[in-house]
Symmetry: D2
Subunit: 337 residues, 4 copies
Amino acid sequence: MKKQLKIGVIGAGRIGKLHAFNLATRVPGAKLTAVSDVDKKSAEKLAAELGIPAVYSDYKKLLADPEVEAVFICSSTDTHSKISAAAAKAGKHIFCEKPIDHNIAKIKSVLDAVKESGIKYQVGFNRRFDRNFRRVKEAVKAGEVGQVRIIKITSRDPAPPPVEYIKVSGGIYADMTIHDFDMMRYLSGSEVVEVSAAGTCLVDPAIGKAGDVDTCVITLRFANGCLGVIDNCRQSSYGYDQRVEVFGSKGQIIADNETANNTVVYTDKGVNREKPLHFFLERYNDAYIAEAKEFVEACLKNTDTPVGAFDGLQPVLIALAAQKSSDKGGTPVKVGK
Amino acid sequence: MKKQLKIGVIGAGRIGKLHAFNLATRVPGAKLTAVSDVDKKSAEKLAAELGIPAVYSDYKKLLADPEVEAVFICSSTDTHSKISAAAAKAGKHIFCEKPIDHNIAKIKSVLDAVKESGIKYQVGFNRRFDRNFRRVKEAVKAGEVGQVRIIKITSRDPAPPPVEYIKVSGGIYADMTIHDFDMMRYLSGSEVVEVSAAGTCLVDPAIGKAGDVDTCVITLRFANGCLGVIDNCRQSSYGYDQRVEVFGSKGQIIADNETANNTVVYTDKGVNREKPLHFFLERYNDAYIAEAKEFVEACLKNTDTPVGAFDGLQPVLIALAAQKSSDKGGTPVKVGK
Amino acid sequence: MKKQLKIGVIGAGRIGKLHAFNLATRVPGAKLTAVSDVDKKSAEKLAAELGIPAVYSDYKKLLADPEVEAVFICSSTDTHSKISAAAAKAGKHIFCEKPIDHNIAKIKSVLDAVKESGIKYQVGFNRRFDRNFRRVKEAVKAGEVGQVRIIKITSRDPAPPPVEYIKVSGGIYADMTIHDFDMMRYLSGSEVVEVSAAGTCLVDPAIGKAGDVDTCVITLRFANGCLGVIDNCRQSSYGYDQRVEVFGSKGQIIADNETANNTVVYTDKGVNREKPLHFFLERYNDAYIAEAKEFVEACLKNTDTPVGAFDGLQPVLIALAAQKSSDKGGTPVKVGK
Amino acid sequence: MKKQLKIGVIGAGRIGKLHAFNLATRVPGAKLTAVSDVDKKSAEKLAAELGIPAVYSDYKKLLADPEVEAVFICSSTDTHSKISAAAAKAGKHIFCEKPIDHNIAKIKSVLDAVKESGIKYQVGFNRRFDRNFRRVKEAVKAGEVGQVRIIKITSRDPAPPPVEYIKVSGGIYADMTIHDFDMMRYLSGSEVVEVSAAGTCLVDPAIGKAGDVDTCVITLRFANGCLGVIDNCRQSSYGYDQRVEVFGSKGQIIADNETANNTVVYTDKGVNREKPLHFFLERYNDAYIAEAKEFVEACLKNTDTPVGAFDGLQPVLIALAAQKSSDKGGTPVKVGK
């Protein structure tokens, strides 16, 4: 087995810094050898902090660097497919933040490029690596709940993003629910064949004016016959609400939120425990580390990555169907191919 | 204030016996003076056990008995509307088991008869009297969760009824979900305007052959703009699953199941607590007593009953819309009037 | 089997009324035939409410009433042993509120009288009938936690009684901890052989001036070798705290408090559930009914009562040892016989 | 502020490796420059893994190394005081695993040496850095539970150490309860003045033959008047049980165990959640990192360490009193000075 994977990070923003930090300090076998950002200063700052030798403003130069064996694509979403294709051609293994793209044709061209080059490809669906959801997956796989009948996901953000962001986000289903669509596929082990989405605007009228909804309930039908239901909201006063429930013929498994600690306070006002962790970086901190570890391991051991390029395509197809259904007032829409 | 209400029970089956027993021993002000059942032996047996003076096989004779001021209609569903109308004409206050009828015209004729006669009318939506759901209602009313956005109800039966019953049940939405439709109205304080139902058959193919589904997810839109989602299943291995969740702008309130006790056992196998109570008569035992108490009180104090005849109509209208949506593969359907 | 037990209630104060009400409405086979109280008006009022035919101011007349087969002794503690002995001689079955007496010799004379007369005797240790503690007992008995090693009881009152009461209460160990001593015997199935009590006064200095403590920790050694520990406080801001924990070679079982309902509220302030029920009459409502039912059943079926006269003696002996230990600053004291 | 602390690790056994790994990868500002172990191979292996430049078999040589500014003493307990004194003389900051020694005179000589040299000293009471107990401490400090009345600690190991270890361990109070004595001081903010310990042997008779107990309940009196109670057992079938409860005039705070995840499984067997984490290295993994971080920070910023040398002395004094009390059958014993 290869001992070390030389990695270049493309994009030194929030998520790029997060991955770079994890790769530098928490992921055995990972070695940061390069970083690039269109804003070269950001890249230089990160390189200085973590002792990364090569710094570029142009990702193409990073891809041409022979000291780079794998890349983490953490640039803006609209560049993911282009850089993915280029990296695949350059023979670099790829970890790409979600989504690969909003455009199906572009995603498919990435799939083709990956297939042709034979490199490893992993999409950043970090929630699959959360300790709670992993346990749910294992329970389902091991048959602990029997034949699955209904999967429920609650996913609510602590606060909505700026309306400016929402305008270019691709809509709630492509931007926010996409994680839940991936989780549905992960937990069910089956493909979503039809979606029905009921969306509304209850958090901020400005979101409605921007053509989007902020609160929604989405029903899914799976190829294996079971049903799924997701409820989303762009704002949750009590923090980041991330729960999952799988009900089957033998029972159910419920995954609760994570909290800052396990204490309970009893006073004359009631019995109080901690709120869910407020921010996704807190909640999924360990999951981000785990996904990077498994990517590096897959590259070093030459095994399959846990979330492949095809897994990057499916949730986008589901999101498109959900958006169409929502636009049509909830009429069920088949998921495309 | 009047001190005592003389009550006749119509129907001495399971639910009739339940109400009779509660009225005899647990409801202050209630006095059982008559009982009727088409199977006179059942009525006689119940009368003997509880010391009820008058026994009839024909409900009309019970309605003619001057020693009866109010009736509990616990006969088969297809007789509810007919007996309701007759009792209203006879000037008896009425507690009627749900549903009043599956036929909208018949229900409306009951509403007319009730209005005309000016008697008290209460429909047996017992779950409204459950201590947990009451607390949820109060929280919503008091604004503890802010403006409601999403209401979620999970309602699963421990075991499906016989297929013979299912054939005449009116379908899962009219037979089972009807309680949840009532709960949705109760908790939201708003009317359901549109329904979308996704049903499937995963518990028993015989249910499918009988033309019904056994597992379903129903999305609702309310007049006040919020969304609701119900998931039902005819079978739950771990008992009677009855949970409610109301999410709003300020937070959420979740009502959990009831259990036989509050103990937790730690062993090398895990940390184990009690399952939800298995049977609806256990779970809603106190709720049945509470609804009878409030009905008797409303009659004695001449105040409004907590669940009126109109509340008996609405869930049936919603159920009809849900059935239509389910038949159409989930297409949203407006609730009729 | 006898069908009905004719019962006289002696003492029409708070606990007498409670038992009378339960016997009248909730206990099958119980028939209230007489009531007595030194304050005859109280007895008359109760008789009127519940339709009890005979009313006395002198308990001796009640004992002489041939329409009385069993008595509930709910008078003041200092009269329990005297009335018990008299009732035993009169051949009446006896349910006696705890404690039988603070004086060992008097308790023993009751035991003798009971033995001689052959009547049924039950002491009012109501907590044994709580659904949670029953489940703990069953788990211990069934070996679910293996060989017991440590039993822990937390028992805290919502508010201290008036200092005037404390002065005549016999001290915290005889007045309050006595219930926990009984619970320890019940759960362990073994006798307490040695006690060590550390008491202090942290709630109200007036309690200290009255010669008592209000906060204490008591360690117990059992004949079977296991250990017990009780913590008590006369005041708990969050309500009546009644928890039990039994730890053994195979695991542990923990019984939590009872609450008004099972809801949880999530807001930006935290995740809040209900406080423990505040008052012992709420918490142990069902337990009071259950103990009366089992007493009546034992009388009617001629079986052993679940809490015999000997069970009334032991906790008093343990309380005496605890008081002595506390007075000596915590030095262990053997339990007398 | 100084940017980097050059650290030598003394002892390359289990806990030495743990600290070395944390210092190398998880503690900002820490730089491992040397490692020593009487078994030089162990030291060499660790040095190779973590890239530590200097390796010694004699700790004295490590203390003489000018590239070492601070040491982590992770050698066997009987060497802690000697090495502490030598390191203090050598002017190295010291992080010393608990306990400093079992001998009071030796501990005091360490205190003197530390005082004289003016170096930083921290004792490895890792549990103070657990996220749950920290929250309890903060709640107490902030007055959330009011004036403290009773502190309860449950501390049970998953499995007893080998009897050979027990023979030289100093007894359960010095070896195991010592952590709980420290936690008591930490949470109460007050000194323990008197102890009463009831010990027994229920896990393994061989432990009794070795002169020790394996199960015990210890009552403590604090200088500020409140009470404490600890229950310990050398074996817990369901894992490492580490809970804390602080009860005061305004309420209580309870810290529960840590688990592998937050899922709950419902089946016909019951409702099951994860057991407490089984092993102390899992449970306190983050606490070990936190204590090292705070030590390094204190050295770099020249501030007080969070757990000083005096904090190393007190629990040993309490343990001695507890052992004496246990030997005397539970008679209360004053804590020495």
